[in-house]
């Protein structure tokens, strides 16, 4: 298992924790606006994590590939 | 060097503008049948008066350049001005100012006048003297008055409205999207299944479809096969005559 794989595992764990937190948050909070905003912010955060660590969006503006 | 060309080009611009402004004077409009129609014609003329010089500027610049700067051979070079100096900024300020002006003056101010309720769907006052419920269907209109009297293609055959009275149409549709448009009143709004739109008009002249075709309710949103003939005649009369007509329709029904 390489360092890169470890990093991926950590990110995935964070994502899983966020997902479960999202679920608990949504089922426990009753005020709809708060709930909506909270869910939207979590979703954007999760998407950003995936885009950066899993999809390597930074490679777009890096000229040559780092292996 | 510019001056030599600027003066004749400007003269050309003025001439084309003068000819074009004749459009502002010309009466291009159908009968002015309501207060709203008066406003429309006025704003239309105002925008025409502003728009004509703008278009005339484009015409004058192109026509003059085609004449004065033409070159039969292809090997002569033009002047090397790049236009990165003050002129584009002036242009930006002028066009921006013009846009802002048109935006505010006939635009937002006119809108203010048309909309009394910010959250509803429609034009004009919410209060009115006569309230008519208009229902669009493929391919005819049904108008229901407050007392339940119905007017449609079989019954009544024409819609009679009182002059100088505020008439509010509450509009919906039973099948597809239609649009209720009365050219003489210059007002239109769509009839949509599932929500009620409205428009309030105040007729100012008497008239009827038989004499003037702009007195008609016309469907203005493509609604299928017979869309083009989905219209309904209107007659605008004095208030007593209107009351009489409404009453006669009622007795006729019984």
């Amino acid at each position: 298992m390489t360092a890169a794989m470890q990093k991926g595992l950590i990110v995935a764990v964070i994502l899983a924790v966020l997902t479960v937190a999202e679920y608990i948050f949504a089922t426990s909070v009753t005020q709809t606006e708060t709930q909506f905003i909270g869910l939207a912010v979590t979703a954007i955060g999760k998407a950003a994590l995936i885009c950066y660590y899993f999809m390597h969006i930074y490679r777009l503006w890096r000229a040559e590939e780092a292996h | 060097m510019h001056i030599k060309h600027l003066i004749p080009a400007a003269v050309l611009w003025v001439i084309i503008t003068a000819v074009g402004e004749l459009l502002v004077i010309a009466n291009l409009y159908p009968t002015v049948g309501s207060l709203e129609a008066d406003d429309f014609d006025w704003i239309f003329r105002f925008l025409l008066a502003i728009g004509v010089p703008v278009f005339a500027f484009v015409i004058a610049a192109i026509v003059y350049s085609m004449y004065a700067f033409r070159s039969a051979k292809g090997d002569e070079m033009g002047s090397t001005i790049r236009g990165n100096g003050w002129f584009p900024r002036i242009w930006l300020i002028v066009t921006g100012g013009l846009a802002a002006f048109v935006m505010v003056f006939p635009g937002l101010t006119g809108l203010q006048k048309l909309q009394s309720d910010r959250t509803a769907y429609g034009w004009g006052d919410t209060e009115a003297d006569v309230v008519i419920h208009a229902t669009g269907a493929q391919f005819n209109w049904t108008f229901t008055f407050a007392d339940g009297t119905e007017v449609n293609i079989i019954k009544g055959k024409e819609l009679v409205l009182p002059v100088h009275q505020k008439v509010r149409f509450n509009i919906d549709s039973v099948d597809v999207v239609h649009s209720l448009w009365i050219p003489a009143f210059r007002m239109k709004i769509d009839a949509i299944p599932g929500r009620t739109t409205y428009m309030t008009v105040e007729p100012t002249v008497k008239g009827s479809y038989a004499e003037d075709q702009s007195f008609r309710v016309q469907c203005a949103e493509l609604c299928g096969l017979d869309h083009s003939v989905m219209n309904f005649p209107i007659r605008v009369v004095e208030k007593p005559e209107f009351d009489q007509w409404l009453a006669s329709l009622k007795t006729g029904a019984k």
């Binding site: 390489t2 890169a4 794989m5 991926g8 595992l9 995935a12 994502l15 899983a16 997902t19 479960v20 999202e22 679920y23 949504a26 089922t27 709809t32 709930q35 909506f36 869910l39 939207a40 979590t42 979703a43 999760k46 998407a47 995936i50 885009c51 660590y53 899993f54 999809m55 390597h56 969006i57 490679r59 777009l60 000229a63 040559e64 590939e65 292996h67 | -």
Partner: protein, 187 residues
């Protein structure tokens, strides 16, 4: 000018992987408008209301899709390090998890308590359906890549098909990150 054979001159700066990567991202931008409009449709018609859905099933398939993103990532990292054996296993795991996710959506469809003939049902079936179509196409692409991976076509120098299809898979996951709360959690 003579028509010289020009294959030789080539443009040294042209890096096909770079082209492909930008192209794929642009495709994702375009697709996000598609999914964004579906989300907009959902909120336009239903506000922040929803009908009853199976919460446990929703959470379960969400976790499964997330897990498949991890396996896909691991497969890509492995092939970048020339480890074809690990890449092979993890790509296969991704495909299996993807199939489980698709089956979960199918089960959800079968047990749904609302019909497609009303607004929430329309929105729900359309959004999950379009997303599932992307999942299924992703499975197909991963499968084609997996076959070639098994044949040893890819290594640390040449692995764009793996990276590209894995990126697509992650994108499908990103879409679900937004669809899941919009369909299951919002109330």
């Amino acid at each position: 000018m003579a028509v010289a054979a020009s294959a030789a001159h080539g443009h040294a700066t042209h890096n096909p992987v770079r082209f492909n990567r930008l192209g794929l991202w642009l495709f994702f931008f375009s697709e996000s408008i598609l999914f964004g409009l579906l989300l907009t449709t959902r909120f336009f018609l239903e506000g922040i209301e929803r009908e009853h859905v199976d919460q446990h099933l929703g959470l379960a398939i969400t976790i499964i899709l997330l897990l498949s993103s991890l396996t896909a990532f691991t497969a890509e990292t492995a092939i970048e390090h020339n480890n074809q054996r690990v890449a092979n296993w993890f790509l296969m795991a991704t495909i299996v998890l993807g199939i489980i996710f698709a089956a979960g959506v199918g089960f959800e469809w079968k047990t749904a308590e609302f019909s497609r003939h009303e607004a929430f049902g329309s929105v729900f079936f359309t959004m999950t359906g379009i997303h599932a179509a992307h999942v299924v196409s992703g499975i197909g692409i991963l499968f084609l890549v997996w076959i070639q991976l098994k044949r040893g076509k890819f290594n640390s120098k040449n692995h764009w098909p793996v990276s590209g299809s894995v990126m697509y898979w992650h994108f499908v996951d990103v879409v679900w990150v937004f669809f899941y709360p919009a369909l299951y959690l919002v109330k």
